[in-house]
């Protein structure tokens, strides 16, 4: 009972302290409106369709064959057609999301970026990439289980192989010989993708303060993954509280510039980020 309580409280705390990995994530090029009536209707229709239709119809949308691209290439999209078929994520919380977007923007420029830049100045890139690999190796259970939950046995096997190879020959995960030598790619799966795989739509967009862009589904996904993450079970207080922020700073140091690029190339950065996040997640769910 005590342990469960602890886990719940810690999960809650992590939801607050785990910062903008997602913010800088879409490495795309790549600021306030109410979606028009028809767009909302299309969104709702898509959500209802996604929620009600079983897995089969979701899968039938995208041809399984990797060679044959999605319908976008077969039917040259006339602008009007492609708009109806291109999904955009519902955003009923837009006013609040915009506030949090602004908060995250400030957190990034005032806190995260300066710290990450300083860290970048001190620690060489090879080391920082190594740290990233190390954490990635640690979170193998998350990817492993989610591959399994998506009936992707090959992926599960790949992750197991990667864990074994990288832990032994890669110095507890610092290096990635699994990829370099054996061409075993990281199977980037998470619980949000698993839920999406089984037909659950994103529902709506949420831009969490500090946590960054997400959706209702992906928020549950994030919480679910916490249970699979070995770092949840570190009971040494100082280490526990240091791990995520440190990982965040390390990751950001490798991604400085992405968020700035997004802002620079966007007319409305809030919408740009929201849409990039949505497309990115949809693509990840579609991909194996």
């Amino acid at each position: 009972m005590k342990t469960t309580c602890r886990i719940l409280i810690l999960s809650g705390l992590w939801l607050v302290t785990f910062p903008c990995l997602c913010l800088a994530e879409p490495s795309t090029l790549f600021s306030q409106a109410e979606a028009s009536q028809s767009i909302l209707r299309v969104d709702e229709e898509i959500q209802v369709a996604e929620a009600l239709t079983p897995l089969e119809s979701l899968k039938s949308e995208e041809p399984a064959d990797e060679e044959i691209q999605d319908s976008r290439i077969a039917t040259p999209p006339e602008p009007s057609q492609s708009e109806e078929s291109a999904e955009s994520i519902a955003d009923p919380l837009e006013p609040i999301n915009r506030v949090f977007f602004h908060v995250n923007d400030k957190v990034y420029f005032w806190v995260l970026k300066p710290v990450a830049s300083g860290y970048k100045g001190i620690v060489p890139q090879g080391m920082r990439v190594g740290v990233r690999n190390f954490f990635s190796n640690l979170t193998t259970p998350v990817r492993m289980v989610n591959c399994l939950l998506q009936a992707n046995l090959e992926g599960t096997g790949t992750e197991v192989a990667r864990l074994l190879l990288n832990t032994t020959f890669g110095l507890v995960g610092f290096f990635d010989p699994a990829k370099k030598t054996f061409n075993l790619e990281k199977q980037d799966e998470d619980f949000g993708q698993t839920l999406g795989f089984w037909g659950i739509g994103p529902a709506f967009y949420i831009d969490w303060p500090i946590l960054g862009p997400s959706s209702l589904r992906d928020t549950f996904g994030f919480a679910g993954d916490l249970l699979l993450d070995p770092r949840t079970y570190v009971f040494n207080r100082p280490i526990f509280y240091a791990v995520r922020p440190f990982e965040l700073v390390n990751d950001t140091s490798l991604r400085i510039g992405n968020y700035e690029d997004l802002k620079k190339s966007a007319i409305d950065p809030y919408v740009a980020l929201k849409d990039a996040y949505h497309q990115y997640r949809q693509n990840k769910i579609r991909k194996k």
């Binding site: 879409p26 490495s27 795309t28 090029l29 790549f30 306030q32 409106a33 109410e34 979606a35 028009s36 767009i39 060679e67 044959i68 691209q69 976008r72 290439i73 077969a74 040259p76 999209p77 602008p79 009007s80 492609s82 708009e83 291109a86 955009s88 890139q125 990439v129 990635d176 490798l254 690029d261 620079k264 190339s265 966007a266 007319i267 409305d268 919408v271 740009a272 929201k274 849409d275 990039a276 497309q279 990115y280 949809q282 693509n283 990840k284 579609r286 991909k287």
Partner: protein, 205 residues
């Protein structure tokens, strides 16, 4: 002897023709579209890597060359049309021209900034899928930090040229992204407001 050679060629042609009729996308490795994309990319990368063009005094010359290479391959009007989507038809010809110019300028500027930051990333061509006049050329960019970035160029055939009308990075389509932004702005305020913001963006650079 020529006749003997012609038969298998005929057979191949007929099969390919059949496949096209059946509407199947014909997967290929390096075909004409990939070659054209490669040509343009190589041209641009050679400009960016050229040591004689590195000094800031040469910036104008460098950009001019990159711009001309990009203009050969990117269909600005098609991109503008798709990004406005259903708002395009309502525009006058003058407005369409203006918008194409503004949006093309924004894209070009963004691309220019990214490309000038090129520092030896490897570009791998990972195949193409042709479907009639449309093609998807898959590219993988391998950064120095050993991250693979999957990029997809979507091209449409115009005459003998394949022209890019969309670019996806990690599954995020550029045109879709702008379409969402533009639609949000037009629905929220007006088309004029969008044009104003585009113009403001251009002067910002």
């Amino acid at each position: 002897m020529l006749e003997v050679l012609m038969r298998p060629i005929d057979l191949f042609r007929r099969t390919a023709f059949l496949l096209l009729i059946l509407g199947m996308a014909v997967p290929g490795l390096a075909g004409e579209p990939t070659d054209q994309v490669k040509q343009t990319t190589d041209k641009i990368l050679s400009v960016v890597s050229d040591p004689t063009l590195k000094p800031s005094s040469k910036a104008e010359e460098r950009r001019r060359r990159i711009r001309s290479a990009v203009d050969e391959r990117f269909d600005w009007e098609e991109m503008a049309r798709r990004s406005l989507a259903r708002h395009w038809a309502q525009r006058t010809d003058e407005e369409k021209k203006e918008f194409t110019r503004l949006f093309g300028g924004l894209l070009e500027q963004t691309y220019m900034d990214k490309v000038e930051g090129y520092s030896g990333e490897k570009v791998q061509y990972a195949g193409e899928t042709i479907d009639g006049d449309y093609v998807v050329v898959k590219v993988k960019i391998i950064t120095q930090k050993n991250v693979d970035i999957p990029v997809e160029y979507r091209l449409k055939k115009k005459g003998s040229n394949w022209l890019v009308y969309d670019l996806s990075i990690e599954g995020v389509s550029l045109i879709n992204n702008y379409r969402t932004q533009f639609n949000s702005i037009i629905s929220g305020s007006s088309y004029e407001d969008l044009v104003k913001r585009l113009k403001a963006k251009a002067t910002q650079k």
